[in-house]
Amino acid sequence: MSQTLKLVVSGIDDSVTGIRSLTLSALDGGRLPPFVPGSHLVLDCGGRQNAYSLTSDGVDPFEYRISVLNVNGGTGGSAWVHQCLSVGDTTSALLPRSAFAPVARARKHLLVAGGIGITPIVSHLRAARTWRREVQVLYVHRENSPAHVDDVRELAGAAADIVTARADFRQRLGPLLAGQPLGTHLYTCGPAGLIHDVLAMAAGLGWPASRLHSERFGADVLDPGEPFDVVLGKTGTRLTVPSGTSLLEALERHGIAIPNLCRHGVCGECRIPVTGGVPLHRDLYLTDDEKQAGDALMCCVSRSNSPALEVPL
């Protein structure tokens, strides 16, 4: 069911330290599938599948642009992009997937980003310009890594507040969240800690859940997690999933084949049902309702909040 795109690297931009921006075109030079703002591309990075937000325009595109942060200690996908890729090289990707779309009904879009989390925000800002939507941006980046600063300034102008010190970011966040007109929706993207702080502050200032949208980054460097057990419903066998091993890996080592593709929690292929225990969701695929229902999980990244999970396998 998943279709793949054959792409060629038509441009590389290394002007920002630690971040490589790629321009990708169709191998046949033709049109690429349009995409919803905030969408990500699951790219084949030398055999590993990594998800990167598209930063270019999604209407009738002839190119896709992504920005890849060089992650130390990751699974190597970003290292491959930084070290092994040249203009003219070919690779493949899944069709763009939308998981962080702007809310059409929003009267105003408040965009808060940290570091490489700015990438889906750039996509939102492009659409906001096309549709003349009201925006406001707060962006914190490392001083030596001003990713997409030019884009943000060009697209948001005076509505963008860009800082490099965490203290400045924290100081501006409160007043920013406290004074938004009813109808505003908040979108935040960046490291898990930043997202957590932003959402916690927003909730404390009375923001209801329906107005809060986030996309967690750093999906290629997930913490190894606590060990837990999994009980296989068909045989009653109890397996231990150690820290650093995913549930998918544990099941595969036991001889159970699970359909999978990206192995990063974005594509949805490795979804398995859960009949007991409380899942710890760490994916970017399931909806909030689905996560709350607790009857399925993405076994490539998600783990358990209870000592054991039960699966009908």
Binding site: A203, A209, S210
Partner: protein, 171 residues
């Protein structure tokens, strides 16, 4: 025969038990009390939220609409809107709120008191008042006998009305 869960009519609009307001974390509250019972209920909410609420009172939804709209235009995120009044007025005010960009988890409705509901005749687009769902009323616009159907518009709070005896004209 008709399962209410399958209709567009909220449970509170057909006499289901009135829910207490949610124990939630708004920063400011806009409290609207329509009719005597609604006023009393909204007033009790106001006393439980000292310094954090504004109250608007009136005899029916039309009387308070302009003030509610103005308050919402000037509101910030962190607001909660709580409505107290008869079902028809609450439906109309819910419609006003949702079209003014209020989200469902910022809105609470408690039914208090009784009152008329509005039906929109889909043949001539005129609004007539009625007492209850299932009633047959004379449309003030086209004179047809329309039935107040179990179908309510989210945006206006009005019920769908269609000619009850259209097929009889074929006899």
């Amino acid at each position: 025969m008709i399962s209410l869960a399958d209709t567009s009519v909220p449970a509170w609009a057909v006499g289901a038990a009135t829910a207490a307001p949610p124990d939630d974390r708004g920063v400011t509250y806009l409290l609207v009390g329509v009719g005597a019972a609604g006023r009393a209920l909204a007033g009790s909410w106001a006393s439980a939220l000292p310094g954090r609420s504004t109250a608007i009172y009136g005899d029916d939804a039309h009387a308070v609409s302009a003030a509610v709209r103005a308050a919402l235009d000037n509101a910030s995120v962190g607001l909660r809107l709580w409505l107290a009044g008869p079902p028809g007025d609450c439906l109309a005010l819910r419609g006003l709120a949702l079209t003014a960009a209020v989200e469902e988890d910022e809105l609470h409705v408690s039914v208090a008191g009784t009152g008329p509901i509005e039906v929109l005749c889909v043949h001539c687009q005129t609004v007539t008042t009625a007492a209850a769902i299932g009633d047959i009323v004379l449309c003030v616009g086209c004179g047809r006998r329309v039935v107040v159907y179990y179908h309510v518009s989210r945006r206006s709070g009005r019920f769908l009305g269609y000619m009850h005896d259209a097929e009889e004209a074929g006899r």
